[in-house]
Symmetry: C2
Subunit: 155 residues, 2 copies
Amino acid sequence: MVLSGLFRRRHKEDSNDDKKLALIRIVHDCEVSPPALQDLCTSVGWAKRDPELIVRALANSLAVVSAWDGNLLVGFARATGDKVFNATIWDVAVRPSYQHIGLGGLLMRELIADIDTYGISLITLYADSGREGFYERFGFAQDPAGVRAMFREKC
Amino acid sequence: MVLSGLFRRRHKEDSNDDKKLALIRIVHDCEVSPPALQDLCTSVGWAKRDPELIVRALANSLAVVSAWDGNLLVGFARATGDKVFNATIWDVAVRPSYQHIGLGGLLMRELIADIDTYGISLITLYADSGREGFYERFGFAQDPAGVRAMFREKC
């Protein structure tokens, strides 16, 4: 009985999640409104970036994927790279109220599909602590052959 | 006596290293001859890449630095990125017979200076196992805040 109850509840949640996900529009375009992106970044606790810099950075990105519920930006991901040998994924973000419905996975699949159109052999990323399992689902391996992430941040 | 002898030998080597380094010409240009780059890659045990793909990848790089002894390509480094928020360093290579004379450090400083002209706040790289100490000399920190390198390679 307990298991059956759990199954029904889970099933109901999945159904609602699917409906929520079905309403979301995926856009492949570097022209994402800076205020919309600033608002999404704020929602996930990231620093606000300058609108002009956002426009330039997106124009210089190899691929940009955004997810919209009506006029609300609910998810985002982009990649930089040389369009030949490598691409690096950055800024994978899902608005908190749209998390845990499969949107992060959808954004990753759409972004990887864009990157794959270039025939790029190596896709890389820097995973925040605790997020490794999420990226492993898309074929990413952690610290391959002992490779380490290294950052140099400007003060 | 032994120490003195060692000192003299080391001093002599340093002096020769300086002379060798002084002869090297640093070029900041994405137009590096593909056969020269293929030859350098072979010398350090890297896979040979297609000449046409090399030309495209370098043209799409944010900065490319090469080191020449006459017509011989002896060192190379490049970076990709969005020209605004981030740059990633790739393919730092020094021909074996020109290693241990400070050329790797020179290439890194020249490449970082190029990247800095964009005002980029974050420079990243993927360090091969055992090379972390080299990059730490230029202000790079390993796995900052638990961030992990993740790779997805095409079969």
